[in-house]
């Protein structure tokens, strides 16, 4: 058995490294998990490659004290977010509304996911690539514009610069996943009590959509001597109510089971770090709004590297990020062809 992140399941299933769990009764568990997570572990021919373990529906955590100080309302749309970014940076040149890390492919994919982009469609050896589709370009154009204006930072994340920025109030908000708040509590201790969380800003006022960043599954590796025991244990580990609950309370995983998400005692938990806000309830609701049908490519590492060198580079250099999605598309396409895939563009 192995813990595999959602986004890497196709990378391992293309090399036939994962056991299809259907013969071991996986289908019967479908209703126990949030439905978009089940879509993520399902292969092109209906195979079930893993059990969802935790999820990362995306929201926005922000420094309520800084928002109050600079008189900024919590942005509900991306237009409001852009206006807030300009206002904040104009008021204090050392503060940015957020950091759109130019190396963070996870968050970027999550934002593309929210925008309704369908960059990868995989069907066996045929792969559809559209990392420069309209929604993807919209996201790139938006962030590229803000980066060019200099009102959002583009520092690489999970670096010392970035940790320091979170602690010092350089970034007033972080677009992150459901696991983000706990992470923040550990790495930005000095800012305890100053944070609040909200859903992601929306492209259309009144809509309610999110993407996902991170989260993991339990898969069974081909070549196991004992597939039945492994499959059954993977099932128990992630669907048993007690076990699922412990992943949350002990490991701080954000749950993937509908039962736990609906559990009133889970939803009612308050986070001290977030001034007593009920984060589980909030991110549970966000989880219901994650777009279904998103797919990952069987060569995610390559696509990520290509993103960093095209779109990410454009963000960091304050260049044309929307145009850079075309280079991204061209690079992943030639890679996929070289690897023997039949590629459908667009």
């Amino acid at each position: 058995m192995a813990q595999v992140e959602f986004q890497y399941i196709p990378t391992f299933s293309i090399t036939k490294s994962l056991v299809d769990l259907r013969p071991y009764g996986a289908d019967a568990n479908k209703s126990k998990f949030v439905d978009w997570t089940w879509g993520q572990v399902t292969g092109p021919n209906g195979e079930i490659f893993a059990y969802p373990q935790d999820t990362g529906p995306m929201g926005m955590v922000y420094r309520a004290d800084l928002f109050a100080k600079y008189k900024i309302d919590v942005p509900k749309t991306w237009d409001e977010f852009a206006a807030a970014a300009r206002k904040l940076h104009a008021a204090d040149g050392k503060v940015y509304l957020t950091d759109m890390a130019a190396n963070e492919t996870g968050a970027w994919h999550g934002l593309m996911w929210q925008a309704g982009s369908k960059p990868y469609t995989v069907n066996g050896t045929t792969v559809g690539l559209a990392v420069n589709d309209t929604a993807s370009k919209k996201v790139a154009d938006y962030w590229g514009g803000l980066a060019k204006e200099g009102v959002v930072a583009t520092d690489p994340d999970f670096t010392d610069t970035w940790f320091q920025g979170l602690n010092s109030g350089k970034y007033a908000a972080w677009l992150t996943a459901a696991w983000g708040p706990v992470f923040l509590g550990g790495s930005a201790k000095s800012t305890a009590g100053k944070w609040k969380a909200a859903p992601l800003p929306q492209w259309d006022a009144g809509s309610n959509v999110s993407g996902n960043w991170g989260g993991s599954t339990t898969a069974v590796i081909k070549g196991t001597a004992n597939p039945i025991a492994a499959a059954k244990f993977a099932e128990f580990l992630n669907s048993d109510p007690e076990s699922a609950k412990m992943f949350n309370t002990v490991q701080n995983f954000f749950p993937a089971t509908t039962a736990l998400l609906a559990d009133p005692s889970f939803a009612a938990q308050k986070s001290e770090f977030f001034g007593g806000q009920q984060l589980n309830q909030l991110f549970g609701q966000i989880g219901d709004t994650v777009n279904k049908g998103w797919q990952w490519p069987p060569f995610l590492d390559q696509s990520n590297q290509d993103w960093t060198e095209t779109v990410g580079k454009a963000l960091a250099d304050k260049a044309d990020a929307a145009g850079a999605t075309d280079q991204w598309q061209q690079r992943v396409t030639s890679y996929a062809k070289d690897q023997g895939f039949t590629v459908n563009a667009g």
Binding site: I14, T15, A102, N103, T125, D155, P156, T159, D160, T161, Q164, G165, K170, P298, F299, D301, Q302, Q305, T308, E309, G312, K313, L315, A316, D317, Y335, D338, Q339, G340, F341
Partner: protein, 280 residues
């Protein structure tokens, strides 16, 4: 006959390890480089296709050009510093020469990973001391000099020790002869010491060829701080690494590594050849 056999026995431990740990991996890499493994379609024999692809791969050529430039600029600077330091210690005019010697050598004792991390902190764009003066070396234009600085810091002391050791072997008679001829310390350094250092300098130069073209640890670590400046093909070695581990193109990576080895061989030979020729 028995003496001959004894010779083989003495050589055997080395030979076994050499074959097992050096020749076997090399042969395996050469074998791998002749195939192509695709995610779809599996492994097929590719002949020299990986090599022809590498020779026209702009990413590889750019990386090779970059380390070539690095070699041409960083190595002379580093060797000049090493030479100056070695001559200074050998002159006997320095106070606390042993402390100086140890101090210059000390960076070599720091693992290159630690050195790169440490310089990474110093270069840090929002908290490093350089940032306080508004100086950010982690940009497209300044990255190569910044890496050169790290490498110089690491290896100047190492080369200094080689040169200093060579100076200690200069026979005292030559100095006496020079003194009799009325040569002062500068003249002695120029006419006696530096010519005597020629083989040692050549050795340092060949080491530096290898070091420059195999540049890996420093860019790999600084990449984390500046992921958009140092790309996956920044140096040929980094490229081979990312081809093997990110792109899953182990066969192509093997071909790239082999070509890199060939380039190092050719450049090292060229350095030795020109040096030997100019000596005549």
């Amino acid at each position: 006959m028995t003496a001959k056999r004894a010779g083989y026995v003495f050589v055997a431990p080395f030979l076994v390890l050499f074959l097992l740990l050096f020749m076997f991996p090399l042969g395996y890499a050469a074998y791998l480089s002749l195939f192509k493994d695709q995610l779809v379609g599996g492994t097929v024999f590719a002949g020299l296709a990986n090599y022809t692809r590498a020779l026209s791969d702009p990413q590889l050529l750019q990386g090779a050009g970059r380390v070539g430039l690095f070699f041409l600029i960083q190595v002379p600077i580093m060797l000049l510093i090493s030479l100056a330091a070695a001559l200074a210690i050998d002159s006997g005019l320095l106070r606390a020469a042993r402390v100086f010697r140890l101090g210059v050598f000390l960076p070599y004792a720091v693992p290159s990973v630690v050195a790169a991390l440490m310089w990474g902190y110093l270069y840090g764009p929002s908290f490093g001391p350089l940032a306080r003066f508004g100086f950010d070396p982690l940009t497209d234009t300044l990255m190569l000099p910044a890496l050169g600085n790290i490498v110089t810091w690491e290896f100047a002391g190492y080369n200094m020790i080689i040169l200093y050791a060579a100076l200690r072997t200069v026979p005292a008679e030559r100095y006496e002869a020079a003194a009799v001829d009325g040569a002062g310390p500068w003249r002695t350094a120029w006419s006696i010491k530096i010519p005597a250092l020629r083989p040692a300098l050549l050795l340092c130069l060949v080491f530096s060829v290898i070091g420059s073209f195999q540049l890996f640890a420093e860019p790999n670590l600084v990449q984390r701080l500046a992921p958009n400046v140092i790309n996956a093909a920044y140096t040929p070695n980094l490229y081979a690494y990312s081809l093997a581990f990110t792109s899953q193109q182990v066969n192509y990576a093997a071909a790239v590594s082999f070509l890199l080895g060939l380039v190092i061989l050719v450049v090292s030979y060229a350095v030795l050849y020109t040096a030997n020729r100019s000596r005549r």
